[in-house]
Chain length 345, copies 4
């Protein structure tokens, strides 16, 4: 059975990977690394999983993890993976990196948003892991740069519409809202319950690093430069992300045409659910799942489209999509391990 290792297993994305991989019928969880908790049983850090994991955290060591695992997920802050990935690939491992390090095609764009890149040459080999859009490339990839949560929620609904040239790219505005788990497990006043209860606010309003990631992919889709307006907001809750996207249409189209454009593009994609015209999405409908639900309305007089897109930022926005990409890379059904029935509430 294929052996899976998770580097950075004790952050929220890492722990969510542990959850999914431990319940995955076709692979086996064999290695977990954590700088902070090396030597401790994973279940001690996440006692919800008491009795269920049986693997202890170890400090990261390239040779050891290459011995222990065939597929390796990296759930680390950006900048760390770029130094680790080359050795893993040399050892013929399949690598899925959840940081930003291998999401960009253009090193200059990465370096403008983050910092200098020590493995630029790998950017041309890595595939952007937006599973439904780049399925064929992912199939053959050894290295996947797993998308950011905001980009996933924004690109998925826009991609088909841009491909079909329906949207005036100069008018795209994404007003996005995220649950606090997107900020991770590290401590901050921002996620202190007393500060976030009954609080709603925009943040990073002068620039968020997920915007250039979106622009690069949307530019490729549109075949012309896309430079969207993007404002992220923080929700007083744990999991869930919504993007309300506004854009002008290039010509008169009917609701049916929009619906068909989306439904056709995602016809073979079990994780994308297109809502009937005028029905609003709800993050509660995708909580704990790998779904991306998409709804829309048209303002006919202004020829404007408003799209709503919801994901669970830790699942389709991170670890779920990462496992979906692993499934695709390994030639399995993309839904394996990700098809639990959602909770009703």
């Amino acid at each position: 059975m294929i052996r899976v290792g998770i580097v950075g297993a004790t952050g929220y994305a890492g722990a969510e990977l542990v959850r999914i991989i431990a319940g995955h019928p076709n692979v086996r969880l064999t290695a977990l690394t954590s700088r902070q908790y090396a030597g401790e049983p994973f279940e001690k850090i996440y006692p919800a999983m008491k009795n269920l994991i049986g693997v202890s955290c170890e400090s990261f060591d390239t040779d050891r993890i290459c011995d222990e695992a065939d597929v390796i997920f990296l759930a680390l802050p950006h900048k760390l993976p770029m130094d680790i990935v080359p050795d893993l690939l040399k050892n013929s491992k399949k690598v899925i990196d959840l940081s930003a390090d291998f999401r960009f095609s253009d090193p200059a764009k990465y370096e403008a948003a983050y910092q200098s890149h020590s493995s630029k040459d790998l950017l041309s080999k890595s595939v952007y892991g937006l599973s439904e859009v780049f399925t064929d490339q992912i199939k053959n990839a050894d290295l996947v740069g797993n998308p950011g949560c905001y980009p996933t929620s924004v690109i998925l609904p826009l991609y088909p519409l841009l491909k079909s040239d329906l949207i005036d790219v100069t008018t795209i505005i994404a007003d996005s809202k995220s649950g606090a788990s997107g900020a991770g497990r590290s401590l901050s006043l921002t996620t202190h319950i007393c500060e976030i209860t009954e609080s709603f606010k925009a943040y990073k309003i002068t620039g968020h690093r997920h915007k250039p990631e979106m622009d690069e992919v949307l530019t490729a889709a549109a075949g012309k430069p896309v430079d969207i307006t993007f404002i992220p907001h923080l929700l007083p809750m744990s999991r869930g992300m919504e993007s309300t996207i506004y854009a002008s249409l290039k010509k008169r189209v009917t609701a049916e045409e929009i619906h068909n454009c989306l439904a056709d593009f995602y016809s073979d994609c079990p994780f994308i659910r297109i809502y009937d015209y005028g029905i609003a999405t709800d993050t509660a409908n995708v909580r704990g799942t790998n779904f991306c639900d998409i709804g829309f309305v048209l303002e006919r007089d202004k020829n404007r489209i408003i799209i709503m897109s919801v994901i669970d930022n830790l699942v389709k926005g991170a670890s779920g999509q990462a496992v979906q990409n692993m499934n695709i890379m390994l030639g399995m059904d993309e839904t394996v391990g990700l098809n639990a029935i959602p909770y009703p509430i």
Copy 2:
């Protein structure tokens, strides 16, 4: 001492009026009406106020309330006030209506959004109670149509910019988010804790009645027809409203010019707080208060402005502004009864 009556005192806006009026040093709470709770002490319905109010609810009766009160607040669903207000005015009462019934100047716009209006003639006499904008008219008004919560949060930041002709009115988009108290105290699955916890969603995406209200006032400000795009969303919390507003600027302006435009317009307005450029607002900063906090950023390459505006939907968005209007109508300092220091958390 001026006597105050509240009609519809047991809904959330009514109860918030009770709170503010009971703590107001210059007026006295003398009458509360409630269809559902007639005969019961108000404190029994809101036990937080045990020992502090001492007024029981009665059923509504025009003669009785005119005997008991000089100023009358109506916190009723729309359609009811239009039939009650004429008699109150005949009795020389000052009336502040929190419903939509007296917010519109143009009866046709009201009737398109709500239903036929039985007191159309009063629309020309009623003043739109956006306190900072229509202060002079409110001073002399006998009847104030208190603004909706969404309109308050959207119009306050836009009004000065439109007056100064800085904004391309065809590009205005307001993405608004409200706490659940805006939906009132009546029961609905929407506000059931199990359905709203960890939920975020847009609603009424094919049309919300607050939009024509905004358009009418913004049109007057701009001197030309304004037809904004407006999408409301529901937050998993009780109090608080945020509007993120996107628009194209008509010409190149600096952040300083924008800041001055807002700060000058509201220079004598203690409840409007303009944030420094690039600082995001937070509903937690205005919770329980009558403040409207406004922040903004510019996207210089796209010449687009993004404005954030936050209020407490029950205070500045309803009952607080209503009391502010009463203060203005009675020639008192507008802040009396509304100037408690906010809670730090």
Copy 3:
């Protein structure tokens, strides 16, 4: 494949049954009834499950459901099942009733707490579905009275201690706290987010119907009358139940003896997790799962034990335990369909 029907499928316990049964590998969901939503696809009522259930709600009809299902769960308010169950049993169905109607052995106790019972004779045939305690009887049962949520959380830790005669039964106090989903989906001010946010309170302090249920089972365990003190409280959250139980020990025992008493009794019970001495339980550790986690401390000077017990009130406290009972009745491994890895947060 065994066919399963759920009567009352659209309340929270019913919907949770739908979730578990739809994901159960060994049975098939074939019938759902709902008075309120007859004729509607289940997925329309719980859109989280869009595309995943494919069964519509129908009104309840004995003949039809007996045609459609082999095992029938009843997730109805008490009083309704007592009239339905006899016909289902005559049709040789396996029945698991989640109401209180078939939990009591003594009809007088049921009638004192609820109302007159129309199927008293069945009480001697029905088995109390506390899965780990009455496993053998459940194996051979046709009718299971599925325990209440509070009784599950209180009885599971006390049963072994009473069986071992370690506790002074006159001193048992259970201070229990429940998430709001225990109050069900029907509308009430109690579960309105604006009333429950930042609220914690005891309720039904002069008597809760789950107390006689606990007393009957604990009395059987102790071999002498047990009449506990029980105060339920409402938590400002959706899922989760904690009971902190206080009792005097009959003799000096060590922490190790208590731990062994519990661990031995539940040694073959994968859903019971006994914590090390002094480690507190947390409802978050069992959320969405069928686990009951148990912890304890001793006050040696006072020879008092304090036990903490946590469950998810909708899973181990209702629908999960119901499915566990079905598994036992059908001779399957009791964990089938209930062994998903828990979410880390």
Copy 4:
């Protein structure tokens, strides 16, 4: 006007003091100290108070604060105040310490629970600031040890019953629950929204430092040693504390006798509200207020009383009671600055 200084102004208790003192009509806020934020305007740290405070934080200096203030509140972690207070008293300041340093009469009890005490001699001069119980002593005190939040909620209802010798002191059990603001503003996983949402748990179950504080005061009330059982729990919310207290009565008493015992003892105490028999208290009813609401039921067959007591842990449980004590020390009405009408929701 009396000048007030707050040492440790930027923690939650400190900031709550700032709120109350800034709104107090009879005193003036003149000095704020903060180690972390020295030099910064207080309003920058708590932007809710933007434009309203006008005092900047400074580092602590005995001479300076003695120059600037007549009354000094210390909102510091324990161990720090014991070294600061002697100098403040030498400068004839009135001092109210919110830490545990001056709560105990018996230095040995303090040292057993905390650490060695450098100002033991002052313990005999300091008064325990449970305002309603020790009013006369507080009137003449120069140094008040402000009670802990749990002790306030537990002692207030028990004190009159112990004084009247109604309770078997060997049977007292307090099951208490606190909002997360009690843990303060310092960062911890415990108060991370993703860890506390949908979580309820006991903590410090092998011993909490507030227990010896309660025992000392209750022992004095009872005139015999009291050693209660106390288990604190953490609520998934910000403000609010509930204690459910169980005890055996020494003799048969009626509900009326209990009610009278409490109501008589607190007859001149506007912040204590005794509920009618059988009515449960709710933390939401006291949120943001200085009230302690008390309710109870009797189990006549077991001759047991169950008492519920609720406070806002930051107000009556900390800063509100501290200001109440200041009012008493300064000979003012105890409610000044604390009598805002509570929010309905």
